[in-house]
Amino acid sequence: MWKIEGNRPVYTQLLEQIENRIISGEYPLGSKLPSVRELAAEAAVNPNTMQKALMELERNGLVYTQRTVGRYITEDAEKLKEIKANNAKELISEFLSKMKNIGLNKEDTIALIENF
């Protein structure tokens, strides 16, 4: 299910959600993506916006276009690992800063996690 919130640009949210689907395997590596129009209809968004998101993904190397055939997810597993790693880094950084806000530093946090 696509969830679009009101206060952030639509295309960034689409970008994130497609990325997540690729990472989670919902869109398997090397598989063909539905057409822009189909995706837009599914997400109930403007096709131009969906197109913008997909082009950004192409720029990031997650998606490529085969002319006259359509868009495909990259087959490059390394690329995927890279994106996963980057996303993970961001999440961890966010998490650690939140922990810091409640007074726990990195070592305390790791200890808590190990005993989780």
Binding site: I4, G6, N7, R8, P9, V10, Y11, T12, R37, A40, A41, A44, V45, N46, P47, N48, T49
Partner: protein
């Protein structure tokens, strides 16, 4: 040419009352645009002018580079807020009527949509509920392969399932050569399908931006911005 609608210094007076006081507006092809403003802001006047239902007082209004007339009516498809179909006809008859007068009307598309919405083509329009009549009107408008669509409150007074179907129809009918202008009060329901929004107030355009611009620069939804700009 990429500009589908062009207004320069457009004015419309009803006697002493200035409904439009110098509208400047350029709309490109291939966009879904929200025309938003409070009641009495001039939205309906602008739409009526573009459809040749009113004559302008001053200024310029061109559609695909042409003055409003028979040629522009061929490429403009209008869904008014009211039910405007002749009640004595059957659904199949009004479809035949549209086919007769509009070269770019697709009978097949219309019947397909009727089937999906479970509407009986042999039913008399007068026997249909208000909501169903509105759906029929929308089907007729969207079955035309026009260059400019004006939808005036297409989802008001329609149940949520039908609303989804209508938005879905608008998205899947998307044509990079055509522009859809949606005038509505239900901004939060449609803002994610809009490319751009135009705010109109007291007969003048006060804002014309893309939805994403507004969200990234203002950090709020179009709906929230609207409430701010048009606070009573």
């Amino acid at each position: 040419m990429n500009t589908i609608l062009e207004c320069k210094g457009l004015r419309k007076n009803y006697g002493p009352f200035e409904a439009l006081s110098g509208v400047e507006l350029n709309l490109d092809r291939g966009k879904i645009i929200g025309l938003l403003g409070p009641n009495g802001s001039g939205k309906t006047t602008l739409i009526k002018l573009a459809n040749g239902l009113l004559a302008k007082t001053d200024g310029e209004l061109k559609i695909a580079g042409m003055e409003v007339g028979i040629e522009t009516k061929k490429i403009v498809s209008y869904l008014p807020e009211r039910t405007y179909l002749n009640n004595w006809m059957k659904v199949s008859q009004i479809i035949a009527y549209f086919k007769d007068f509009y070269d770019n009307f697709s009978e097949a598309k219309a019947y397909d949509m009727l089937k999906r919405l479970d509407i009986d083509p042999s039913a008399k329009l007068s026997t249909l509920s208000k909501g169903t009549k509105e759906k029929v009107q929308l089907i007729l408008v969207m079955s035309r392969d026009a260059d400019l669509y004006f939808l005036d409150e297409p989802i008001a007074g329609v149940d949520p399932a039908a609303r989804d179907y209508i938005l879905n129809t608008i998205i899947t009918n998307y044509n990079p050569q055509a522009t859809i202008v949606i005038s509505t009060h239900l901004i939060s329901d449609i803002e994610q399908i809009l490319d751009e929004v135009v705010f109109i107030q007291k007969g003048k355009i006060v804002l014309h931006k893309t939805v994403d611009e507004i969200r990234s620069i203002e950090g709020k939804s179009v709906d929230a911005l609207f409430r701010e700009v048009f606070k009573c």
